[in-house]
Every structure is written in structure tokens, then in C-alpha cells.
Amino acid sequence: MKLPKFDYVEPTTALEAVTLLSQSRGLAKVIAGGQSLIPTMALRLAQPALLIDLRHLESLRGIAVDEAGLRLGAMTRWREIQDSAEVLDTHPLLVEAVRHIAHYQIRNRGTVGGSLAHADPAAELPCIAVTCGASIRVLGILGEREILADEFFLGPLATALGDDEIILEVRFPRWPSSRQWGFQEFSRRQGDFALAGVAIFYDTDNSGRLENAHVGVFGVGQCATRLSGVESALNGRTNTISVAAEVARLAAAEVTPSDDLHASARYRRALVAVLLERAMALARGERA
């Protein structure tokens, strides 16, 4: 399982990277942490002629928090998110999701940008980005643009990223400290890709009624997606056990999973319902 032959470049600016990318006519691949790309190449499922390594692009690194929210540079490693007290304060849902990503060694190398660009339907970050209405800032040969996470993920391993584009950063809207949230994922073993996962958050009005409910699921469809039916059903209600059970049934009906080696569609639907109920309980403050 040795990697096929390729050339390797280490551009020092983002512009240089996209220039190389556009010149390669689709034969190049960008490598960030490489935690998904390298195994794919080892299995010879991908044989790019050129690898463009972003490791020297300092501008793609770093975590920033301001009034608008949280910004994660594309080359930010999972590990840095886990180590950041600032992110824990400003986006606890994100930190909880990152805890579920792969294993220790992978989290030391894997990056935010890599995960978004890889767009695995069972990955955590795309779901958090979609659920939170994050936007993804990308650079191409014609300049920068910002793509809403909702429009970024097109299907399994497919994104709106152009052939000459790289991800610069992902921006999460500001997270009010009073926000309620819950995250649940079901995988066969610690660190495995999810058979199903649910991320929810909502704010409450003075009487405790839910508003701004966001419900995202992953591992149960072509890509991470929000469940608008569930969200509408939640807004204006209170998070009680019976409401949670009711929306869980809605969620099971709203998702569109398919069968694969690891689980049937039927089971995935059932999992979504259970996970949503449990995420609702967590949001109520019933931390296990």
C-alpha cells in the first residue's frame, strides 16, 4: 500500500497555491493535514499528479473571536480547537463535536479546512457548520468568495469548491452564552465515523419558549443537513420530554438515509430519533 508517484510543492502564499491549482488542470490535490487524503492515496483510490501542501500558509492558521463570531483558519487542527479555552467559551457545541472526531493522533494533524473540503457525509464539522449557518471563505484564481455551509456541501465527498479554489477559513455566527444545545452521535467504536449524529441548539424567550431552533443531522444522508420540519415544530414550544419525543418522530421521517455496509436506512432513522431525544435532554440540562 505505497503511495503512487506525485510531485510535491509547498507554496508560501494562498495566491501561489491557487495559481498552482489552476495550472494543474484538475490533476493536483491540495493537502492540509492529509488524514483522509493519504489513506485514499495509499489505497490508490486517488492518484493526483501533484500535491500542493498548505502547511506554510500562516494566514490559514489560527482561531479568532470577535463580535461577528468565531473564525477558524482552514489549517487549524482539531487539537488546537480542543486546547482553546476561548472556543470552549464561545462555541461549546463545536468543541463537543470535535471531541468525537477520530482519534488523538488524527486530531493532532487533521484540519478544519481538510474536513470541510473532504465533505464526508458522516463527519462532524460539516454538520456543525451547516447547523450553525456558518460560511466558508474560499480563494480562487478570480478572487475570494464566501459560501454558506448549506450551499457548500453538495453530496458525499462533493462540495461547491471550484477546481482552483482553496478554503481560507470558516466563520461561525456569534453564539450567545445563554444558548441551549445538545450533541449526540452514535458510532460503532470510539472515533469511528458516525452511523448517525445530531446537533441542536436553540434560544428561549422570556417564557422559556424555543426560538431560533437549529437541528442538524449527519451520517444519515448525502451530506449534513438541517431538518427544517423539526425546527419549525420546535419554535414556539418548550423543550419537554413529550415535545422531544414528538420531534424525534418527525426527525426520523424527515431524514433520507440509505443502506450501506455499516447500517440500514431503517436503523439510521431510528437512531436519529433516539439521538435527537437525547440531544434535547442534554439541551434541557440533563447532562449524563
Partner: protein, 765 residues
Amino acid sequence: MKTRPQIVGTPLERIEDHRLLTGKARFVDDIHIEGMLHAAIVRSPVAHGLLKGVDTQVARRMPGVHGVFSAEDIARDFGGVVPRIAIRAIRIPELEPIEQWAIATKKVRYVGEPIAVVVADSPAEAEDAADQVTFEIESLEPVTGWRQSAAGTSPLFDLPVTNRAITYTAIKGNARDCQGAYTRKERFRVQRHSGFPMETRGLLAVWESNAQRMTVYGAAKVPFFARRTLAAAMRLPLDAVDMIEVDVGGSFGMRGEFYPEDFLVPFASKRLNRPVKWIEDRRESLLGSNHSREMESELEIVCEANGRVLALRGSVAVDAGAYVRAAGVIPGRFVALMLSGPYDIPNIHVESVLYLTNKAPVGTYRGPGLFEADFFRERLFDCAARDLGIDPVQFRRVNLVEESQMPYRLATLDFPEETDELDSGNYRATLDQCMREFGWQEKIGLQGRLIDGKYNGLAVGCFIDGGAGGLKEHARIELENDGQVTVYVGSASVGQGLVTILTQIAADALQLPVERIRILHGSTTYLKEGVGSGYSRSTVMGGSVVLLAVEELKRRMRDAAAKKLGCSPDEIKFERDLVMTAGEKKLGWEQLGSLGLAAEVEFVNHHHTFAYGAAAAHVAVDPRTGKVDLIDYFTLEDLGRVINPLTARGQAVGAAVQGLGGVFLENLYYDADGQLLSGTLADYMMPTATDFPSVRAEAIGLCPSPHNPLGAKGGGEGGVIPVGGVIVNAIAAALVTMKIDPKELPLTPEALWSLIQSADGRSSV
């Protein structure tokens, strides 16, 4: 006389560890020989088809390539015939037509079967060129299960004409006509999975043309058999072939058997007159190393109303894969021979049919046939106990073989005729001790209870663990000039701590400190003949031959000392540190060391040992997801005599976790086209540290084996054997109100969830 304190029985920390902990070990891929080339194997992507042609022209011209060999190239060197991979265990003429060819000739029969060998300067270049080998395969209907195999619509071979490789029948008493107050017939199934050690297979073959000698590094498990097989296949004299055992990263039955590559790589080395290394990659390992365990049974139990079992009868269908390899018949034989386990069952009639399918050939995996047999039997017992309203523990108690019945004869198997005897044991006492140490009384109140959304369940089961297989083991012992004693032994190390165990045995026998003993093992350069490891044999067989060797050395020392002291050898007594006395006279080894005293001995044993024990589990089932938490697991095994409690416990815990992998996670899953879908370690799921964090084990030496001077019983496999039965019985007990009786492994969360969904007694969840 001052004696040294006994080392056997103490938890001596392992002698092997230092090198392994510091990165100084030498596994086969760590060996670098100047001028060494690297092989890659081109494998069939098709499960079943006619191989019409292999084109190696483009590959031959690729950078760094030294040679590309297909069946045609190999046959040319062997008078037009491609050599075959000889069956090691229980070879009978009927099976010879289905032995695997070293490389596919006219047909491919499983995805992963070798089609060509590419040899290049580097592994990467070899793989690049392997990608350029083209071939034409005319697809045939793939046979992917035993039922399809039995239907016979797509025969794998011209001869035998059916896909039934062989049928073994285990018989005792008259089970067919046996009648009782209660009968129940059930089907059970165990999925395909296997040992997959962390180190993949590999070898480095070095042909020396001047000396016309072949040296192969990377031998494991049974190096002497591998030497015979390779010498015969390559038509070389036996003494022109040597197998060198370096560090081995686990076997679990799989590693060390003779595989196609064990011929292909030496062949390439000889043809190119260069050292050639091949290291199996993980994908190849999952595709082509021996699979195991895949069986489906239909068994009927006949009982009296009080739970006394009168008979077990029925059949087992074994999915044997595409060929019968080295030890491929063992699981199918053992499942029938040892179905009764530790229980006194007077009437048995079990047919075990090996079906050929277009999947990787099977071999042994730790507890071969016994893991499966235990799952079938222990599940059936719990079903029967529940139907009869008998406590499952009591059900077992009344049926266990009693100490007074020892030796206890098992069923008789055919092709060839074979029977076996349980050698010794107090089965009830061990069951009781297991339950005590597990805390059965304290926990039984939780049985079936729903706590924090999870149903709790407990179960206990009993098992036997056959060991000391193979008739002989060999050793040579030498008293060195520096007072060290070196023992060369035919046993092989597969990571189990062989050196530590044999050193302990030798140290006590010689009354020497462990530092003065050196154990060398495995390689064919040490001894004229030897056997190896496997069938839980190295402690008993290796240990016993070490004892014999020490006795023989002492006899020779006594003779030599008697001459020096002018007395009769009978008057010589040994004190510690090889000091000999005769009355007032005293002689140290120093005065004998230059005599080059040495002895070569063989230990012969016609009896298997049967370690045995009981295991208990406490599980909690989430009925909404089907996820099972293992709250506690305890396994207790009587090894007759425990040489080292530390390594004995290590074997048991490790084996139990492997068993748990087999129950919940591991599955070699083939689709209807015969493609292996679990072809990476992301999809073939082995247990990790978080999966089963509470497994406990203990080894005791209660009833020694009467058949060897140590009294020890082979015990490396007992940990895995009861796991399927105990765990699934605990799950069934947890869900008893829903009347759930899982009958298939793996019991994935989804599988259990599905059973819960369709259960009639389903409570609202």
C-alpha cells in the same frame, strides 16, 4: 541442600520485554540485506472466473522492475506444473484435489488469489508495476455462501464434482434414536472473522546460488513444517532450506501457516538470484490470510425433564472458502468433536460439512471450532433451561462431567478416526469459584432489570480448551564454557512469552538463576527436527522437552563428575547452581564446562491436555439503540499448573477481548459478487481500548494433567472460547421479558435492535 526458591508459579516479569519496549526487536520487515529486492503480488479482483491470460509485458518494462512471474513462468521451472500448498493438519487423499495452487493457473476462486508476482527495487515500484499487469478473466457465478455452494449450480472444481469438500461425523452412543421428555432444535450462525495479528505476514527469502541454499526469514508457528513444504515444492533437499524465526508480532493461528507467498517469494529469489522481501499489506491480509469461524449449525438437544442432557444431534455447515489450506479442516473437525464441551452428554451425532465457496480459504483462529461450538451449545442450553424452568447455572451443574468420570471420552470423529479424552478436572468447583469471584450472588438481583434505561443481564458458561497438540517436541541443551545453559527448542515464539516460560521451567530444573539460562527457539538451524507453536502446545510440549533435556544434561554431568571424583554416578547429587556433591566431595560446573556437554532429546506425547473453566458476564442493553455495555466479565481457567500467572492472565484477558470482537464487531463481509467489503481496518473493526474496559481473568492450577511431567495444560485459547455463548446468553437474559433469543453473530447494535423491534413480548421502548 540449599535450593533456590521456585520460579515456576511466580509472576516473573517477561525476559522478552526489554528489546520490544525499546525498539530493538527484529521483526521480518526490520531486516535489510544488501541487494534485496521487493515483491508485490497481483491479485484477482474477481471471485470466480476462468483465467484466460496474464500479460506482464508492460509491467516488465516499468522502472526498477527485475522480474514478473505468472503461473506460466513458474510452471516452466517445475515440469509444467504449479506447486500446491500442502495441507498440514489431517491431510487425507480426498482433500488433495482442493489444495491451493501457489499461484492461480486456469481459474481464480477468490478475490485476492495471486495471479502474478512483481519484483522491483522498492515496494512502491513493485506496486506501480503490479498495477500494470493485465489479465483476462471470464467471470463465472460466484458462490458466496454454503447454501449456494450446496446447491451446486457453480462448481469450483472439476473434481470433486460437488462443492462439498468433506463431511466429518462425530458419533457417541445413539443420538439419532434418542428420545427424551424435552427436545428443541435451533439454528445458530457465527460470522467469518479471524485473528489478524498486528504484524502482517511477510518473509525475506535469500537464495545463495553458490551453495544452492535457501534461507527464509520470517518463519513462525511451525517453521519445520514450512521447511519441509518449501523444500518439496521447490524440489530442493531438506537440508538446503532453512527457516529463520525472528520476532513475530502475533499469530492467533493465522500467521506461520504455509501460504502461496511462502512459495512465490523464495521462487522469485531463486529465479533472480537476489534476496527478495515481501511484506503483506493490511488489505492483502484481510483478503488472503486465513479466514475462520464462519459456520451455521442446526442442532437439536434432547433432555430429561430435570434438565439432564441425553443427546445433541444435528449438523454444522462450514463455509471453508475456495481451497483447503494448511489447517483449514481443523475448525470443521473440532466443532463436531468438541461440541459437548465440558458436559457429560451420552449421545452425540453431529455432521460437519465443509463447503467450498469463492471466498478466502479458512484456517485456524484461536479456539478454532471451539468458539463456535461453545456459542452453539451454550445458547442451546440456555434456551432449554428456560423452557424447562430450570436455573441455567443449575442446568450446567447437573450436566458437567464429574471428577470421578475422568478421563472422560468425547465423541469419535471420522476421516481419519479420532477421539479424545478430557484428562482431568473438577469442573463444578471451577464453576463455583468463577461465580464467587465474579460476584454472582451480589449481582443476580439485577437480572432482567431496567436501570437508567438499560436492561441488565447476567450469564455464566463453561468451556474446555484443548492443548498440547502434535506428537513431539525437540530440544538440544548445552552447558557453555561460561556456565550458561543454552536450550534450543523446536517451539516457536509468536509473542506469547515462550522464552520466559521455558526459562522458568529450566531454571527450577537446573537450580540456576534465570540469567544463566538462554532459550533459543523456532529456527530450523538450531535443531534437526522440531514442531513449533499452535494448538496451545508450547508450554506443555516445549516445557516438557526442556525438562527432559535438563534431565539428560544432568545425567551426562553426573557421569562426567563421577569419573572426575572416582565414584558412581548414582552417588552424585545436584545442589543449586550446578554444584555436584558426592558425600563430602564437591564439584562445580567450571570443572565440566570445557567438556562441551550437550544432549538432544525429544518429548513424545499421545494425549491432549484439556484446560477448562467458566466465564461470567454482566451486560447492560440499551433497547433503543441495541448497544450493549459490558459491565463486567470474568473468566477463570484451570491450567493444571500455572507456570507464570502474569502471562497466563495476559493470555486470558487478551483472548477474551478478541472473543468480544468476534461477538460484536469483527466481520469479514462479502457481497453477492464475492467482493470483500470489510477490506480495511476501518471496516473490519477490531476492539479498541474503549470498547470492553472491564475484563478480568484468573488462571489456577487445581487439577494437573496426568500426561506430562509438568502437570500443565495448554491454555492460550481458553479465554476466547466461551465468550460468544456467555455474552449472548447474558443479553438474552437481560431481554427475557421480550423473549429475545439471538442466534447469530455478530450481534451488532443494529442486529440486536432489529430483534427488539420484531419481538412479540416487546415492552414499550
